[in-house]
């Protein structure tokens, strides 16, 4: 899983039927100091996250499909949690 911040949500009418009824979020992966890491990714939303939230993103197909409860769907990333805080050891 990775930690990301939701930066946008994406609207698509013509899409895989298995994506219907799910929000598509654009998440910017973050370093542990909350700076941006690499390019944003798209993930289906399983927890009703929104723009600005810091979230947990699974990056493997089986996990993502399980999270949104859709089998055999072309989904490789899903938002599975909204992060309240991350505590690091000194």
């Amino acid at each position: 899983m990775l930690i990301g911040r939701v930066v946008d949500d994406v609207v698509a009418t013509q899409k895989a039927p298995s994506h219907e009824g799910c929000k598509i979020l654009m998440a910017q992966p973050l370093n542990l100091d909350n700076t941006d890491r690499g390019e944003p990714v798209l993930a289906l939303d399983a927890v009703d996250a929104g723009v600005g939230d810091r979230v947990l993103v699974v990056t493997e197909g089986w996990c993502a499909m399980t999270a949104v409860d859709r089998e055999h769907a072309p989904i490789d990333m899903a938002v599975v949690g909204v992060i309240d805080s991350v505590t690091l050891a000194e």
């Binding site: 949500d9 944003p40 990714v41 769907a73």
Partner: protein, 93 residues
């Protein structure tokens, strides 16, 4: 999954039988400013996308699931055509 722009298509006469009848497109992933990156990826289309359109793609084994239970040998598939993006407040472009 990632945002990308369709920039071209690939024609191949000799190919895996599971790819026959599928559109094979060249896409460029978009960066955080939605500008095409220099790299490109060849993806199989599942939604009828065409050149110039913004799409999003799925990678990995899951990329063959639009055609399930057929096993299409691709690791990138176009799974949606993007109509619009609701921007965060600080985005201007």
């Amino acid at each position: 999954m990632f945002l990308a722009r369709v920039v071209g298509n690939v024609v191949a006469t000799v190919k895996d039988p599971a790819l026959v009848g599928k559109k094979i497109l060249v896409v460029q992933p978009l960066d955080k400013r939605w500008q095409p990156q220099h790299s490109y990826i060849v993806a199989v289309d599942s939604v009828g996308a065409g050149a110039g359109e913004t799409v999003y793609c799925c990678r990995g084994r899951e990329a063959s699931f639009p055609w399930y239970p057929d096993e299409v040998p691709t690791e990138t598939a176009i799974v949606a055509i993007v109509d619009g993006i609701n921007q965060a407040g600080d985005r201007t472009d």
